[in-house]
Amino acid sequence: MRESLDTLRNEFLARIVDGASEQEVQRLRVEFLGRKGKLTLMFHRLKEVPPEERPGLGEALNELRGFVEGKLELRLTELKRREKERLLQAERVDITLPGSRWERGRVHPLTLVMDEITDVFVAMGFELARGPDIEDDYHNFEALNMPPDHPARDMQDTFFVSAARVLRTHTSPVQIRVMETRKPPLQVIAPGAVYRHDDDATHSPMFHQVEGFMVDSQIAFSDLKGVLTHFLRRVFRPETGVRFRPSFFPFTEPSAEVDIQCFLCDGKGMVQGQQACRVCKGTGWLEILGAGMIDPEVFRFVGYDAERVSGFAFGMGVERIAMLKYGIEDIRLFFQNELRFLRQFA
């Protein structure tokens, strides 16, 4: 009988091969464990065994039945797992197809740059101010120390809407409007559209400026240098070289032109050894801002005492910064508003 137990075990093991299907597993269960199953019959035959052998043999039989049941169960679980797996595989998607979504609207690159500029100053504690686009001669010119017949007015070709009203030629009148109504300390940033009677690849009749100024009791030229250097290194690269050189604006004294190192040629003025850099025209520097200490005449116009307060002001062209930042060569692209252009910006 013990020998037939081993034979049965070997037979079962030979039948429950890896490839066994669920049907075969069920058939095996009936064949071995069914009412007339081979193992069941062995239990029946226990009575025929001498009583002293019964416990040992019974134990061996139970062990074999446990083994067979376990194996069958294992096989069934495995089959179920495989079936589930097969069903999931049938749901396979082509992950290389394009993602499906609505086309996003795009913010205009000039807004992008204007926000970036104002954010740097707002983070430094500057507040935002705005002024009208239609300005009077007084705020646009006279209070900025540009009396009638001053040659500095030539620097700005003007659109007139009447004899005394113009489309502002710069955002500087916001300086006057804020100082007229407020007392120092002031630190203000004023972004907006400005207008010049000019139209070609580098000049648009409308463009944008960001004006900024700071007035307090002890503001010096060195503060102007610090604030603008910090700003330029935030908007461009942190290691950008910045240089200040003397210039002239009627509403500042001393006045400065602020340049940054050309990022195309790294300030060398040359690309590939010999060719003059086309971005900086071989100078190694890019003009980016006008600035200076607010002229005492301007303080006089707004009723500040130049002996008690001092301040700096600066202005920059948003289009110019955007053109340099993104390598855009024609200013008119900004105002043609073609999706082909606008969709290049995140």
């Binding site: 009208p132 030229f221 210039s247 105002f335």
Partner: protein, 694 residues
């Protein structure tokens, strides 16, 4: 202004290259815009043409002498004046010419010399080359000498053919009743009484400081030349030059200030050169009418002001050295200040700040330290607007609209068609000097700009185009005062674009979808009152039945709708939607402070209500009525369906509402809700003539 390096070296010694000089000058405020080598006549003699951008305050640098003074001050190089033929003390000239100044305020100084025996011919090559390098066309040796000396000294000279001056009595006066003068470019100029003229007796012979007259011009047969070297009032010259649109080398310099002390040297230099290149014999003596002698006022410079304005302490020795290097005379000193007199050629230096700029300039801006100031927050109050503008933009971008930035100019025709939100009492702002016939006015509405953008993009084969513009519009009120306000407008043409696999039925947005965008804007801006949507007052450019005016508390704040089909047909466009909102008005309703409500503690119960009403019945009326009831248990009501067709009879429609019931203090029972719902349904049927559908 252009000059050549070799020419500059005749005025000042300096070592170093053209590049080095360009850098030195640029960093001192005389920006060298370009420097290019000049083909040399002789081997090994390199020369350069330098182009400097002279700022309007530095008229003194419109001559090589001025640039040389800068170089000398910056490098310590020795400055010298090229030779001249000073006028001998003699009254010889007085027998030949007489000068009277009738407007001494406009002409503080008038100097003149006479040369005889002139042989007019071409100028020598060396002179021509230099003039041409500086952008001045060679005319003849006499005119070229005047230009050559002007380039050297910055003092404009004028040469009259003395034989063509019948009276030889020069009178400097305002035009008064004299009405015209033909200038040497052959153009007859209309004068105004304030123009300053040089006259021969009563006859005008030159527009002072701007351009000579054609009658007294030097010609090939000229023998005797009267050389004028004068000083004129900058503003007067500018007014005339600007009005007549003449931008001459002379007027450019006079407008920016010429050295009043430099007239005689320039004459002497010209006399010498005329003798050299035209064989001229100068008449002895000089006429010099100098009634308003320029006396530069002393300026006091306080040490503490220097450090306060620049943020750096500079030793007194250093600042005084800079000032004297720039030609200033120290007149007096105290412990804390110095008093100086600026040179006559620096009319831009009148104030302490001007001197501080000179000190900063020569110290080098790069040598002034950089520091961050203490920012003291001002009491201006926080400004909510920028944050709201960004929210608005972000929302519209999310809805798929791309931002446009348009020029504000438009045509009168477009302004007549698209009046925006201005009503009848406003008129467009006209541009006095427009850039073109289609850009004569400022826009009343943002829509014309968006229509342009649509056309541009359709021409580029865009399948659809959804965009917005957030910018100012302009108008004049009844009194002619200009008004401007920030508006937001959108245009939605074609189905919203998708990325990825194509959808089967892509359709353009409907009126309700655009209305949804506007409701979204109201939500994003947190606008309190509910807008009213009205069919009345809709603009004629909109579809009469698919458009609405948006009102907040009886004020028009915007509109939306489909563009008038005729317009689309004429422009060969598919139907599309637009909207425009008055952002300034919306901002007034936007709340500053939000307060959160706690979550409800008891559940809500929803019941639907379906009614059959006339086709023209506005669905919103039932919502409005129910909200106005203010019933404590009615939490909200919304329309969720509209249906026409069988089994609903012709001319009728079915509307379905969902009403949400909730009590604050308990869970409502079914029977309680059912009872209330039936009551409300019955009231709706009665009030609105609606038939209930069960």
């Amino acid at each position: 202004m252009n000059f050549t390096l070799s020419w500059l070296r005749e005025f000042v010694d300096f070592r170093g290259s053209a590049q080095g000089l360009a850098r030195t000058l640029t960093m001192a405020g005389l920006e060298v815009e370009s420097s290019r080598p000049l083909p040399s006549m002789q081997e090994g003699q390199e020369d350069w043409v330098m182009e400097v951008a002279v700022t309007p305050n530095r008229g003194d640098c419109l001559g090589i002498l001025g640039v040389a003074r800068e170089v000398a001050a910056l490098t310590g190089g020795h400055l010298r004046l090229p030779p001249a033929l000073p006028a001998a003390r003699s009254s010889g000239i007085d027998r030949l010419v007489d000068v009277r100044i009738l407007s001494p305020d406009l002409c503080p100084r008038y100097s003149a010399r006479m040369v005889l025996g002139v042989r007019v011919a071409g100028a020598p090559d060396w002179m021509k080359r230099r003039l041409e390098a500086c952008g001045i066309r060679s005319i003849n040796n006499v005119v070229d000498v005047t230009n050559y000396v002007m380039l050297e000294t910055g003092q404009p000279l004028h040469a009259f053919d003395a034989d063509r001056l019948p009276t030889k009595r020069i009178v400097v006066r305002q035009a008064g009743e004299i009405q015209k003068l033909t200038t040497l470019d052959g153009v007859e100029r209309a004068l105004v009484p304030g123009d300053l003229l040089i006259c021969d007796g009563a006859a005008p012979i030159a527009l002072a400081g701007v351009m000579g007259g054609s009658d007294s011009e030097v010609q090939w047969d000229t023998h005797a030349v009267l050389l004028e070297s004068a000083h004129f009032d900058p503003a007067c010259i500018r007014r005339t030059a600007k009005r007549l649109a003449i931008h001459s080398e002379a007027s450019h310099r006079f407008e920016r200030g010429v050295d009043p002390q430099g007239t005689l040297y320039a004459l002497g230099r010209a006399a010498l050169l005329l003798a050299e290149v035209a064989g001229a014999a100068p008449v002895k003596g000089v006429v010099d009418r100098y009634s308003r002698r320029a006396k530069p006022a002393p300026i006091v410079l306080r040490e503490k002001k220097v450090s306060a304005l620049l943020g750096v302490e500079l030793p007194r020795r250093r600042t005084e050295h800079i000032l004297t290097a720039l030609g200033m005379k120290v007149q007096g000193r105290s412990k804390t200040a110095v008093r100086v007199i600026p040179p006559s050629y620096r009319s831009d230096l009148t104030r302490e700040e001007d001197l501080i700029e000179e000190i900063a300039r020569l110290t080098g801006y790069e040598n002034i330290p950089s520091r961050l100031p203490l920012v003291r927050p001002a009491g201006g109050g926080s400004n909510h607007r920028p944050a709201r503008e960004r929210k608005l933009r972000a929302f519209l971008l999310g809805e798929g609209l791309t931002e446009m930035i348009n020029l504000p100019f438009t045509s009168a025709e477009m302004n007549r068609r698209f009046r925006g939100l201005w009503g009848d009492k406003r008129s467009p702002v006209a541009i006095v000097n427009p850039l073109g016939q289609d850009r004569t006015e400022l826009r009343l509405s943002l829509i014309p700009g968006l229509l342009d953008n649509l056309r541009t993009n359709l021409a580029q084969k865009a399948r659809s185009f959804h965009c917005f513009d957030f910018a100012k519009v302009f108008a004049l009120d009844a009194r002619g005062a200009a008004e401007e306000k920030q508006q937001v407008a959108g245009l939605l043409y074609g189905a919203r674009e998708r990325k990825g696999l194509r959808w089967k039925d892509e359709t353009p947005p409907t009126f309700l979808e655009v209305k949804g965008i506007i409701e979204g804007i109201f939500e994003v801006l947190g606008i309190g009152p509910e807008p009213a949507w009205s069919n009345s007052g809709v603009g004629s450019f909109l579809h009469p039945a698919k458009a609405a005016v948006i009102r907040l508390e009886n004020r028009d704040v915007g509109y939306l709708g489909e563009i008038q089909p005729d317009f689309c047909e004429a422009a060969e466009l598919e139907p599309f939607q637009v909207f425009e909102l008055d952002f300034e008005a919306l901002a007034e309703y936007a709340p500053r402070q939000l307060t959160a409500r706690p979550l409800p503690r008891f559940p809500a119960v929803a019941r639907d209500l379906a009614v059959v009403v006339d086709d023209a019945f506005p669905a919103q009326r039932i919502v409005r009525w129910m909200k106005d009831l203010n019933h404590a248990l009615v939490e909200g009501v919304e329309v969720f369906d509209q249906y026409r067709g069988s089994p609903i009879p012709e001319g009728k429609k079915s509307l379905a509402y969902t009403i949400s019931y909730r009590a604050e203090d308990r869970t409502l029972t079914d029977s309680e809700v059912n009872q209330l719902h039936q009551q409300l349904a019955a009231r709706v049927a009665e009030l609105f003539g609606a038939q209930l559908r069960m």
